[in-house]
């Protein structure tokens, strides 16, 4: 069934098709339509779930974690300040191996108050042990939620599915909504090997001495390392059933590219337009849109970027005192390899300032004009 829906509703549809059993959420702009539609779905009983209308995002995540421990599939959605309020609980979810799935609408952090997009909210959750996916279309949001449940439950690690404020959350697109039966065949019921029940009483998350703690974290990393392959397999199987493939990265016209952009989110779709325009002008450009940020798709990124003569990383985020965050990650992925491709770092679009096809043209001109980067941050569009 094809429907014209907004990005936020793609999250709600994903949760319904994924048969989330417990939803605990708190409203925040620009996420509200996610919970509004889910409330309708629960009220209409098209979704058989308990919706706990909590008093904060912190409680939302706490409730999702506890529901997951009981063996229920749990879902929530938030944004920005709400996500960062959850920060402590993000560690609880991954550390406790609770495969909660969450939608996060990328919104810039206050102060000053902003409701517009950038990635600092979710990227500052980088080290919490969550799988992170960044989406560029409403179809991708819906498909990613369904796949995220499956990936998360296979490795018992939570997933965050991220989309840009307004640029995606409030943009209406045609979305193919798969049949429930087919989704059920793809995504069986959550059936964790261990769950909290009085019939087999255990203590979850108790005081853990240095004798045991280290191994728990080692295992989390080892299972995180299985995720790239799992995401590929899951994506291929999804493609077989639904005709759409999503992997760790999406590469566009990279095969013969001399300049490759590294992008994420909706800016990664805009980049494809930029690439086409540049190609039209004779510049062999390409684009790698990083879909999965954690775990970082080292192999894929190395493989694709090693073909380029220059790489331009476009960050809609910043690690203050360091550089653009994707820029750091890409450089770290390439370091020590046998390819010495110069990597240029660009920061643009903070707080929702538009990233246009022309932005990529400007970035291409700057990148092609130099042999090697002279600075780690080149600011695009900043008023000085």
């Amino acid at each position: 069934m094809k429907k014209v829906i907004m990005g936020n509703h793609a999250l709600s549809w994903g949760a319904q098709l994924g048969r989330a059993q417990v939803i605990a959420a708190y409203p925040i702009t620009p996420q509200t339509q996610v919970v509004e539609l889910l409330s309708e779905m629960c009220a209409n009983k098209t979704l058989d779930a308990k919706f706990i209308k909590v008093e904060s995002e912190h409680s939302a995540m706490a409730a999702c974690i506890a529901a997951s421990i009981a063996g229920a599939r749990a879902f929530t959605a938030t944004s920005s300040q709400g996500l960062t309020l959850m920060h402590e609980l993000l560690h609880w979810a991954s550390g406790g191996r609770n495969p909660v799935v969450m939608g996060n609408i990328n919104r810039a952090m206050a102060p000053g108050w902003s409701i517009w997009t950038d990635q600092n909210d979710s990227l500052s959750q980088r080290d919490t042990g969550w799988i992170q996916f960044y989406c560029a279309s409403n179809q991708e949001v819906l498909d990613t939620i369904i796949q995220a449940f499956r990936v998360s439950e296979a490795v018992m690690i939570p997933s965050m599915v991220v989309l840009d404020a307004f640029a995606l959350s409030h943009t209406y697109e045609v979305v193919d909504i798969p049949d429930q039966e087919k989704v059920d065949a793809f995504l069986p019921r959550f059936n964790p090997p261990i769950r909290l029940t009085p019939s087999d009483p255990h203590a979850f998350g108790g005081l853990t001495s240095p004798e045991h703690y280290f191994e728990l974290r080692y295992k989390l990393q080892k299972d995180m390392e299985k995720v790239p392959e799992l995401v590929e397999e899951t994506g291929r199987e999804y493609e077989k059933m639904f005709g759409r493939y999503l992997g760790e990265v999406e590469d566009y016209r990279c095969d013969d590219a001399e300049l490759i952009f590294v992008t994420s989110g909706t800016a990664g779709y805009t980049a494809r337009v930029g690439v086409d325009q540049l190609r039209h002008e004779g510049v062999r450009a390409g684009n790698v849109r990083i879909r999965m940020f954690r775990p970082f798709p080292f192999e894929k990124v190395r493989m694709i970027l090693s073909r380029a003569r220059k790489v331009a990383v476009v960050d809609r985020n910043i690690s203050y005192g360091h550089h653009g965050i994707f820029y750091q990650e890409v450089k770290s992925a390439l370091y020590g390899g046998n390819h010495d491709v110069p990597v240029f770092g660009y920061i643009t679009g903070l707080g929702g300032r538009d990233i246009m096809p022309e932005t990529y043209k400007e970035i291409a001109q700057l990148t092609l004009a130099k042999q090697k980067p002279e600075e780690d941050i080149t600011w695009i569009g900043v008023k000085r």
């Binding site: 059993q21 605990a24 409730a63 421990i69 749990a74 255990h202 203590a203 108790g206 001495s209 045991h212």
Partner: protein
């Protein structure tokens, strides 16, 4: 005719708590758990945030309890319990009693937002606060449950706590939850009865259990039961129930209301208080008691 007399037991003999726990001597929080579990039975699941009980239970991979526990984040006892209840119901378990089991810091202070949220939604959980009147697990720092006049490591004697204990029971009553009660391990039958009653009610139930802490109160372990009796007899911590935030029932009315002095003299945390301080405290206790008696008067 046999002269053998059999003692009548007032509590079930079934134990869901083992002796191998890690509590200090004279800890009333352990008794509270033991009695409450006797009332709730094995089909119980606990959410325990950071508090003494997150240590008392024993370290991973051990546990001294025969019921499952989710050791949850400090401020999430009520929200975790809400999620656990919803999760259990969604996987087909509608019978298990879900209990948030928190100390006074996790209830009066850092957990009050989640507690208020759960109570307003009338989540089907029992919230138990065992109240030892300070952050005992971290080393005796003041909480908003610490009474006026007390020494703690963050209210040294020269600057003892100069604000009264937060009236959390009134806050809970303002939420109009179906059932709430104060209780005390020195009155185990009363505590047992209240936990049992709470079990059979649907919606948010709140038990506020007074729990002497010899380590933090600088009292003798063998005085914990005595302190629990005194605090009811001198009306500092009266035993009462509230239904739907309105119907107050006083469970124990002392025949003769005792002065507070003896209670204070048994605890090192109050050693610095002068007679005039005690007079001030007595006046406050009297006022609170009168207020409670008014609330407990039958409505005409």
């Amino acid at each position: 005719m046999s002269k053998e007399k059999k003692m009548k037991l007032s509590l079930p003999t079934e134990e869901l708590m083992g002796s191998g726990h890690l509590a200090c001597q004279g800890c009333a929080a352990t008794l509270a758990m033991r009695y409450v579990l006797k009332a709730l039975g094995q089909k119980t699941a606990l959410c325990i945030p950071a508090c003494c009980w997150s240590v008392i239970d024993g370290p991973f991979p051990q546990s001294s309890l025969g019921v499952p526990i989710f050791h949850c984040a400090f401020e999430t006892a009520a929200s975790s319990a809400s999620g656990l209840k919803a999760g259990l119901e969604m996987v087909g378990d509608t019978e298990t009693t879900v209990v948030a089991w928190a100390g006074d810091g996790g209830t009066f202070d850092i957990g009050i937002q989640a507690l208020s949220g759960a109570a307003e939604r009338n989540e089907d959980i029992i919230y138990v606060c065992y109240d030892n009147e300070a952050y005992m697990n971290t080393g005796i720092q003041r909480s908003s449950a610490t009474p006026y006049g007390a020494w703690t490591t963050t209210t040294p004697v020269r600057h003892f706590k100069n604000r009264p204990k937060k009236d959390l029971d009134a806050i809970m009553a303002a939420h109009r939850i179906p059932y709430q009660a104060t209780a005390n391990t020195s009155y185990p039958e009363d505590l047992y009865k209240k936990a049992k009653k709470a079990k059979d009610i649907k919606g948010t139930r709140f038990l506020h259990i007074y729990a002497p802490c010899p380590t933090g109160w600088k009292s003798r372990p063998e005085d914990s039961i005595k302190l629990g009796r005194m605090v009811v007899q001198n009306c500092i911590f009266p035993l009462y129930e509230v239904e739907n935030g309105e119907k107050y029932t006083l469970n124990i009315r002392p025949r003769e209301k005792k002065p507070v002095d003896d209670y204070f003299r048994l605890q090192g945390r109050f050693r610095h208080l002068r007679d005039e301080d005690l007079k001030f405290i007595q006046a406050e206790v009297d006022r609170n008691w009168e207020r409670l008696l008014k609330l407990c008067e039958p409505k005409s």
